[in-house]
Symmetry: C3
Subunit: 158 residues, 3 copies
């Protein structure tokens, strides 16, 4: 089988594990999906297209990931809700040694405690994933939302 | 290729066949996706988290599956509608001989005869699938809906 | 690994490339996903079930594909919007030499410039894909929408 198909399957399985961890509220595991100095940011398509630097969320390095989850667990006030991640079209855009670059579409259905469901966000991610060591990890993950607006706040990571 | 990747692909292809059968209204084939004494149930995340036993739908054994579809075809009164199943993140959570355990997110877009579309349900399934014989079959399938409420009734299986 | 699993992966990767090209507004590449005399049409489930011939969109041959995109770029007046394609359940329904027949569910989330998101369409595609030459191409692609109505117009291809 072609190397790109194998790489595609590996990324797909890794993204599925990531999404399940978040959707099942195992948020303390979030930082473990990144390398020690990994980066994560959420921006909008408008900002990305114009090359604007502002992010809706940005973390660099394990400490910031842990801070974010600690804040979510102990400080942030928000209406309880859960995500259902639906991964979309995945393409491998580059392979270099043990690093895979990929791009994928996604959508998230958000459900509140009352039972209201909505398409919360959709868009695309650009990921660089390293296969070194025992399991894959994000070197960086950029989430690019199609919409310029977020309904209420973005507290759970995407 | 790793065994878990092969198992993942096998489950993915099986779930796709299952979803197409339902979405194409080939509901009489539904029971054939289960073993002779297979079980199927639909519950909510709230119930699952609290360990509560109540199900929105529950079938055990071929007879109950057939009853359910006969009722749908001949007795139930409901507004005509179709499902579009969108499978989400799939992970293999266990392999034991010819039995695969998996967990996957999903959403269903429901469309009525008038043309109205909505996100009908989303959530996760926990499946045990046996590969014995000519094609895979569910030993049990548990559907866990993110929302505690269903818009009108749940008549077509998920 | 079984041939059908390999075929399924090949189709899945091809569809992902197609969806990314459209979602990223690389519409000039659209025609390159089809053979020289390839066909593309969009119809509704109601029409397909009744065997009615009317299509919402129909193209045959490269020239018509290019015309369509030229019209979109230069003549059509519509509110700016983007698609986020979410591929669904994919099944290989036939293999004959270097031609694969497949069927897949999908949904598209549409986002306008103002940031409004909605489930724009969902349904199923029936595709015939040829693997000859350097990359796969559609011989024909039929999109069957679950709903009988489209919100405003259908301008970007599905």
């Amino acid at each position: 089988m072609k190397d790109t198909l194998i790489a595609r399957l590996t990324v797909e399985a890794f993204l599925a594990e990531y999404m399940h961890a978040i959707d099942a509220d195992r948020l303390e595991e979030w930082c473990d999906f990144f390398t020690e100095d990994g980066t994560y940011r959420v921006t909008t398509r408008e900002n990305a297209d114009l090359g604007l630097p502002l992010n809706l969320m940005s973390c660099k390095g394990r400490g910031m990931f842990k801070d974010r989850i600690t804040a979510l667990r102990t400080a942030n006030i928000f209406e309880p809700h859960v995500y259902c991640h639906i991964p979309g079209a995945l393409r491998v855009t580059g392979m270099n040694g043990d690093v895979i670059e990929s791009e994928s579409t996604f959508t998230i259905i958000r459900t509140t405690n009352h039972g209201d469901m909505c398409v919360f966000v959709c868009g695309r991610t650009r990921d660089r994933i390293v296969l070194r060591d025992s399991r894959p990890k994000f070197i960086d993950r950029t989430v690019i939302l199609d919409s310029r607006q977020i309904d209420t706040l973005l507290v759970i990571p995407i």
